[in-house]
């Protein structure tokens, strides 16, 4: 299990846990970021936000957020 921010572009994973406050968890859930979902890293530059693919959705997540999503 590792933070989402450590996935390289093209790498895929399954969400194991979403940390963070209740508000942001709720928000991410609405966008499909929730336990058990498969995702794939699209863009991960050294700093700044990452872009991930969740099914048909493309999400930009801030680096801080990406560290709070744990994937396997």
């Amino acid at each position: 299990m590792k933070p989402l921010g450590f996935l390289a572009p093209g790498e895929a994973g399954v969400i194991k846990e979403v940390a963070g406050g209740i508000g942001i968890r709720e928000r991410l859930r609405g966008m499909g970021v929730t336990k058990g979902k498969a995702l794939r890293m699209i863009q991960n530059n050294a700093c700044g936000p990452v872009i991930v693919a969740l099914g048909e959705t493309r999400l930009a997540l801030g680096r801080g957020m990406a560290q709070k999503v744990l994937v396997e």
């Binding site: 572009p9 895929a12 963070g20 209740i22 508000g23 942001i24 968890r25 709720e26 928000r27 991410l28 859930r29 609405g30 966008m31 499909g32 929730t34 336990k35 058990g36 979902k37 794939r40 699209i42 863009q43 530059n45 050294a46 700093c47 700044g48 936000p49 872009i51 693919a53 969740l54 099914g55 048909e56 959705t57 493309r58 999400l59 930009a60 997540l61 801030g62 801080g64 957020m65």
Partner: protein
């Protein structure tokens, strides 16, 4: 069904049908709203908050329906103002039918909202939108099966081509006339259901709650730890037993499942949705197999080395497009108003009108209003370019690229779009901060936005730079734009450090797939922003030009706009304040006073005061005699920074919903403007430039 709806309407002729539109952002909801209502739209605000409320009328088969566009949301939780508004409207206003716009190419995520609507027991018709895009991506949806599983009508649509909309209207009207629908019950598992049951018994004993909410929905929301709803319930008298019962249930669930209750709900909900998707959606290619065109573009456009140059190129193109195309148009409008002024003067003179009416009509109204309308081509072209990039999906990528830099300034990637729009007009720019979810981020972005040189500052720059720096006019004007940006960065950082110590909202944003914008959609978008400027031109500016004229001729008998007139006396009183900045004359002070009402009025006022009109060489010439290059530059900086114009102040008040922050915006910009102007003038003199 048809007959039933017909009957229902006839029975209660006074009550009109209310249709609410709900859906995710980027699901094409706005396009559906536009094709339902056409030009019969009204934009306002939801009561008490600053979220935009759009309403329209739909005429179908002789019946009038009110169509309310709910804010685009992913969920109906309590995460943002938008979600709470959408939810409260459905709960308390009880629309006759909700059209839920769903992106067919992204069904799973979109159904999360649908399921929540169904759980509320609302009468829903699903518009399965973007069927063309789904087809292009080789995704097929079994519409009939989906309708069966959800228990509501599902209408396939391609809103951009107006396909399926008549059928959607027919189904919506039929559903509106039908009886109440039973709320969707998702099985949340034995333990959770037991707690819902026992909480339900307590709720049932409170008649007040039963009036307002449906029992099961309230029980679920309380267990989901929905903050907003909990606060609402706490305000209800005598609900101690319910709250105690809720605590107990939450504790028990935590013990049994070893997990927060909210996770249990989300899992089951997504499980339910997953089941539906499995049965109704078939893909020729799996998502992993297919690197869509969108992803391939993103690899390049958001690349760490290429992203920024591409972004800068796009911005350069936006400004080239605006000014190269706009400048000739500005020239035409200028000559039109000069011609109109001449013709009016001649006609009124021939008709024997008294001199003061000629002066009011020609100098005041035509000259004044003309000086504002001159910017319309620039503003509309800028908004056209921005809307095109926005609707194509690129702006979301630009926000992604800019997030790194905006973050360094303590701002948010999404702050960048309002700043860009600010170069056109600060009023729609401040309205565009609505996309920022966090209040602090939003306040900072609003406070520094007036430092972006809007199109109305340009004539001030053009006048003074033309009079003094003709050889390097372009560079001088560019330096003022840059000054504004640098000050915005510095002030943003200061506000973040001293006023708003909290964290920025985390950056979470959907990147919609790239699309070719439709002409209609883009034009509507441009109009929404541009009309904010026109309204200002039509109302405030008109009033201002008349006010200037009146202040210039009173008290009766003085020479027009002379030192003895009201405007002259006001200017004389304030002039000493500006001596250290190099423009301590009553003319400059009076121009600044009127500039509060709209910055471009500075030029008009100077024209009136110097008695040369506002166009042409005359004004530049007289300014060339009365000012020095250094005092002119200090004055331009002052015009950029000091107090936002009246329309912008109005926008700040409306968007912050606070007089305190509005006063702060006025106060800090006035102080900053004076300090910067004095620094420029005194610094320049020390360097021997004066």
């Amino acid at each position: 069904m048809e007959a039933a709806s017909e009957l229902a309407v006839q029975k209660t002729p006074a009550k009109e049908i209310v249709i609410a539109l709900a859906g995710n952002p980027n699901s094409g909801k706005t396009t559906i709203f536009n094709s339902l209502t056409g030009a019969r739209q009204h934009v306002g605000n939801w009561p008490g908050v600053t979220v935009e409320k759009k309403e329209g009328r739909l005429l179908s088969a002789g019946k009038t329906c009110r169509v309310v566009d709910l804010p685009g949301t992913y969920s109906l939780g309590a995460y943002s103002e938008d979600e709470i508004i959408a939810r409260n409207f459905i709960l308390h206003e009880k629309p006759d039918v909700i059209i839920n716009v769903v992106d067919a190419s992204n069904l799973e995520r979109n159904l999360y909202l649908t399921v929540q609507l169904l759980e509320m027991g609302a009468r829903v018709v699903v518009a399965l939108n973007m069927m063309d895009e789904a087809q292009a991506r080789q995704i097929t949806v079994d519409r009939e099966k989906l309708a069966g599983l959800l228990g509501v009508p599902v209408v396939p649509t391609v809103a951009t081509k107006n396909k399926g909309v008549p059928e959607l209207i027919r189904q919506a009207l039929a559903a509106a006339g039908a009886g109440p629908r039973e709320a969707l019950k998702i099985d949340y598992g034995r333990e959770v259901e037991a707690e819902i049951g026992s909480l339900g018994t307590v709720i049932a004993s409170h008649a007040r709650l039963m009036d307002r909410y449906s029992l099961r929905w309230l029980a679920v929301k309380l267990l989901e730890e929905d903050d907003h709803l909990l606060q609402e319930i706490r305000k209800t008298p005598d609900v101690g037993d319910l709250l105690a019962r809720r605590e107990k249930s939450l504790r028990r669930l935590r013990e049994i499942a070893g997990e927060e209750a909210e996770n249990l709900f989300a899992e089951r909900r997504y499980g339910f949705i997953g089941g539906i998707v499995k049965q109704t959606v078939s893909r020729k290619k799996t998502v992993e197999q297919r690197l869509s065109l969108s992803d391939r573009i993103d690899r390049v456009v958001t690349n760490r080395f290429l992203g920024l140059p591409i972004f800068l190129l796009a911005m350069w193109a936006v400004f080239q497009f605006t000014f190269k195309l706009g400048d000739p148009l500005v020239g035409w409008i200028e000559s039109f108003f000069a011609w109109l002024g001449g013709v009016t003067e001649g006609a009124l003179g021939a008709a024997g009108a008294p001199e003061w009416t000629v002066s009011l009509a020609v100098d005041g109204i035509i000259g004044g209003v003309g000086s504002v309308l001159v910017f319309i081509p620039l503003i509309f072209l800028l908004f056209l370019a921005i809307s095109f990039l926005e609707d194509s999906g690129y702006m979301a990528r630009a926000a992604y690229i800019m997030d790194r830099f905006m973050h360094a300034l303590g701002l948010h990637g999404k702050s960048f779009l309002p700043m860009l729009i600010g170069f056109g007009c600060n009023v729609p720019a401040i309205m565009a901060t609505r996309t920022l979810e966090n209040r602090q981020d939003r306040l900072i972005t609003i406070l520094i936005n007036p430092l972006m040189s809007c199109a109305a500052r340009l004539p001030v720059y053009v006048l003074f730079a033309g009079a003094f720096f003709s050889a390097r006019q372009g560079w001088v004007i560019f330096s003022l734009y840059l000054l504004g940006i640098v000050l915005a960065v510095v002030m943003g950082k200061l506000f973040k450090t001293f006023l708003f110590k909290g964290e920025s909202a985390p950056f979470v944003m959907e990147l919609p797939p790239y699309r070719l914008p439709t002409l209609k959609g883009t034009l509507i978008h441009v109009w929404e922003r541009g009309s904010a400027f026109i309204r200002k031109a039509g109302t405030i500016i008109f009033g201002v030009v008349v006010l200037i004229w009146v202040l210039s001729v009173l008290p009766w008998g003085v020479e027009y706009a002379a030192r003895e007139s009201l405007i002259g006396r006001l200017g004389s009183a304030l002039a000493p304040v500006f001596v250290p900045a190099g423009f301590g004359t009553w003319e400059a002070a009076a121009a600044l006073i009127f500039g509060l009402l709209a910055k471009e009025v500075v030029v008009g006022t100077l024209g009136v005061i110097y008695g040369v009109g506002e166009e042409g060489e005359g004004l530049a010439q007289i300014i060339g005699q009365q000012w020095t290059p250094l005092s002119a530059y200090a004055f331009m900086a002052m015009c950029l920074i000091y107090i936002p114009c009246a329309a912008t102040i109005g926008a700040i008040k409306r968007e912050t919903n606070s007089w305190k922050w509005t006063a702060f915006a006025i106060g800090y910009s006035l102080a900053l403007g004076w300090v910067v102007a004095v620094l420029i003038y005194q610094g320049g003199r020390l360097l021997g430039l004066g």
